[in-house]
């Protein structure tokens, strides 16, 4: 039975948009993360994918409590951390660490590697100076660097090596959870493979739990056990990695999958491809109903633009937020855009009573 490490319930993060210089008033809000719920089990890798602006990085920062959630509850290791004060958060912080995207910007150029990796140990007073030094050298070795690099500065390292330093820093205090925000997207493919393999090895060795955020679906597929697809601050689909890629339910997941170029020319030519039109809409004024409806090939007037779909579960580990989930995969453009009229009629009947109250109806599949 998998043991739960992190539970995120109905978390929202809205950034106010204000006008005026002296008498500022809020005129709108960017709903960067809007009602997101999921759980992460101990020892697994939970992948979050989505295009830029879908709220995946904001969500990571909210989980780390680098940003305060507007609403919702975050339970980490059995403890509600969503309302802890700065001081109360301090002991929790060493349990959850972060690896950042840009290996150049995330290391202080004026500090030596030894200090960068050992800073968290010092802050948490986890040993004498000599002990910390020994621990840092050990860590450098674990991530595949030379312990003698202890006294060097970040600029003396290549991008891949810097990312290894970032990994060593995250590991220093033996965290339970590591949140990696696009950790390999700035790296070349051969170096990317090195870092991905390193993260996998460390997970096996230290029993780590990862939340792995990326826009590259290939990378997420490789590293994750379960994957969550986000669109404009909402969860579109959550599934086991294999399931998501072989039987996606949400039209957005399907379109994402078919948009990824595959490194196999013969298979690529014979592939059925669904190219989405348009751009991601403005999160200040998101579309009504399902936020994906203006770009969705399965959009049905009177349903998708009226009511927001709730996540419905296909199986215990697979859920998607769509009234008209994909019946099979892969699909051609014609197949994906043809929805059974009877199902449409049924959905319409279901939503009518709920409409006047403005309450989202629950679609039961």
């Amino acid at each position: 039975m998998p043991e739960e490490l992190l539970r995120v319930e109905n978390v929202k993060k809205h950034f106010p948009v204000s006008r005026g210089i002296i008498f500022q008033k809020q005129i709108a809000a960017v709903k960067a993360v809007d009602d997101v719920s999921f759980t992460v089990n101990r020892g697994e890798t939970f992948g979050i994918v989505g295009e830029s602006g879908c709220g995946k990085s904001t969500l990571a920062r909210v989980i780390m409590r680098l940003l305060d959630p507007t609403a919702g509850k975050i339970t980490f290791d059995g403890r509600d951390i969503s309302n802890l004060t700065r001081n109360e958060m301090r002991p929790v912080r060493r349990e959850m660490m972060m690896i950042f995207q840009d290996p150049y910007a995330s290391l202080n150029p004026r500090k030596r590697v030894g200090f960068i990796v050992g800073e968290a140990l010092q802050i948490n007073k986890m040993g004498s100076a000599a002990e910390i030094k020994r621990r840092v050298q050990e860590l450098l070795e674990v991530v595949g660097l030379n312990p003698e690099h202890y006294n060097r500065f970040p600029h003396e390292f290549s991008g891949g090596q810097r990312q290894r330093i970032g990994v060593a820093r995250a590991l220093a205090v033996n965290p339970k959870l590591i949140v990696a925000d696009e950790p390999v997207s700035a790296l070349d493919v051969s170096v990317q493979a090195q870092i991905l393999n390193l993260l996998k090895d460390l997970q096996t060795e230290f029993g780590l739990t990862y939340i792995f955020i990326a826009h590259d679906l290939n990378v997420v597929r490789y590293i994750s056990d379960r994957v969550m697809v986000m669109y404009l601050g909402k969860v579109a689909e959550i599934a086991d990695a294999g399931q998501l890629y072989s039987e996606p339910q949400h039209p957005y997941s399907g379109s994402l999958l078919s948009a990824v170029p595959i490194a196999n020319p013969r298979a690529g030519r014979s592939r059925k491809s669904v190219v989405l039109q348009g751009d991601v809409p403005n999160p200040i004024n998101p579309p009504s109903g399902c936020r994906f409806h203006p770009r969705c090939p399965r959009y049905q007037e009177g349903v998708c633009d009226v009511v927001e779909p709730r996540i419905t579960e296909v199986s215990a580990s697979h859920g998607s937020a769509c009234f008209f989930p994909l019946e099979h995969w892969p699909m051609t453009v014609e197949e994906i855009s043809s929805v059974d009229p009877e199902v449409v009629a049924e959905r319409k009947r279901e939503i009518v009573p709920a409409e006047p109250a403005g309450e989202p109806a629950t679609a039961s599949v």
Binding site: D188, V191, A193, R221, Y245, A259, P265, L276, D279
Partner: protein, 384 residues
């Protein structure tokens, strides 16, 4: 995009059909740390209407190759250095002695019979943006933020075509419509910041194609874009190529993008060509250890890969590249000869279209290619 078969025909049709023919191109830069040999003996060609993909990791010289051909390197020098074995040293010497220029390109780059490396500056300006157009990675920095896109499109037209301003504006609107910008008549007066990333890249494509170029050089055109936008842009480029018959050189680090768009692929490593072949050969019968490494380190959407095979180490510094084959320090197959001699491109499997620069015997290579491919595609491996 022409089919691969058509691409092959073009390439075999003889020199007349070659639109761009680059031979032994070298580009060196002078820096404070010494001479950087950014491109060091690169040869390839592009047929009419064909798409050539140039892949490689950052710093391998793929962008510099195209910048050299277009004369866009910083402070380029013009020194006549004859071909021959001593050319590299002569270039380094000329660079070190000069105070006027910091980059130097030699070799040949024939575009429709003219050597772009020796034509006059004014002729090059005529070709650039006219018969050869470019799209760059970042559409925000390649458009001027203080001019409306209309002004920029009209300027490009007036420079290369004999039309009135009014006609140029009409052409610009047409071009914007062509690339799928809605309400083009109104949006032509908008500024770059009023467009999204994908739309900006569409504007760049419109600008590139407005003078009906024969060759389009696209340097990582979709790298800054999201995957669904990338699919839109690739589809657009494909359609444009079919309509205009433009040849495309696509520079990218993404092996997925190359597989989708290219007829022919050049794999570059440390300023040299490692392998060159029709696209199917690269992915189904790769014959260079670096290509295996690239393919093996690629996570795949289609299959569960237990563990990526990684290339050990880092790409070498181009200030002091390793002796012998540039890849030998990272190559698990390297033997004595690899550390002494620099391999030249030679045909692989007696196929003149498939060339590679590696000393390893073909039997080992075929076996290894099969092994690498089997990791993520058991079926394809059986067929090799």
């Amino acid at each position: 995009m022409t089919s691969t078969a058509a691409g092959n025909e073009l390439a075999t049709d003889g020199a007349d059909e070659l639109l761009l023919d680059v031979r032994d191109l070298r580009t060196y830069f002078k820096t404070d740390d010494g001479i950087v040999k950014a491109v060091d003996g690169v040869s390839f060609s592009v047929g009419r209407g064909e798409t050539l993909g140039i892949v490689g990791e950052s710093g391998c010289g793929k962008s510099v190759t195209m910048m050299s051909i277009l004369g866009l390197n910083p402070k380029p020098g013009r020194v006549n250095i004859p071909a021959g074995p001593g050319r590299g040293e002569a270039m380094s010497k000329a660079l070190q002695e000069s105070t006027k220029f910091v980059s130097l390109s030699t070799g040949e780059a024939f575009f429709k019979g003219e050597n772009l490396l020796t034509v006059s500056g004014s002729r090059l300006r005529e070709i650039r943006g006219g018969e050869i157009a470019m799209i760059f990675q970042d559409p925000m920095t390649s458009l001027n933020p203080v001019h409306s896109i209309g002004t920029q499109l009209i300027e490009a037209t007036l420079l290369h075509q004999d039309v009135s301003k009014k006609q140029a504006r009409k052409l610009a609107i047409e071009a914007l419509k062509d690339v799928g910008i809605p309400r083009a008549e109104r949006r032509i007066d908008d500024y770059p910041h009023q467009f999204s990333g994908g739309m900006r890249q569409r504007v760049m494509i419109a600008m590139a194609l407005i003078n009906d170029p024969k060759l389009l050089i696209a340097d990582e055109p979709t790298t800054a874009l999201d995957v669904t936008t990338q699919a839109q842009i690739l589809e657009l480029m494909n359609r444009m190529q079919e309509e205009h018959g433009t040849a495309i050189v696509m520079i990218t680090h993404d092996l997925g993008v190359v597989a989708e768009v290219a007829d022919e692929v050049v794999v570059m490593y440390a300023a040299r060509v490692a392998e060159r072949a029709p696209v199917d050969n690269i992915y189904e019968q790769p014959m260079h250890p670096y290509t295996w490494g690239l393919l093996g380190s690629l996570p795949r959407l289609e299959t569960d890969v237990e563990r990526l095979t990684q290339i050990p180490g880092q790409p070498p510094s181009l200030l002091r590249p390793p002796a012998g084959c540039r890849f030998n320090p990272r190559c698990t197959f390297a033997f004595d000869r690899c550390r002494r001699e620099l391999p030249e491109l030679v045909p692989a499997l007696s196929d003149p279209l498939h060339t590679q620069a590696c000393f390893l015997d073909e039997e080992t290579k075929l076996r290894e290619a099969r092994r690498v491919l089997a990791a993520f595609d058991p079926e394809a491996a059986g067929g090799v």
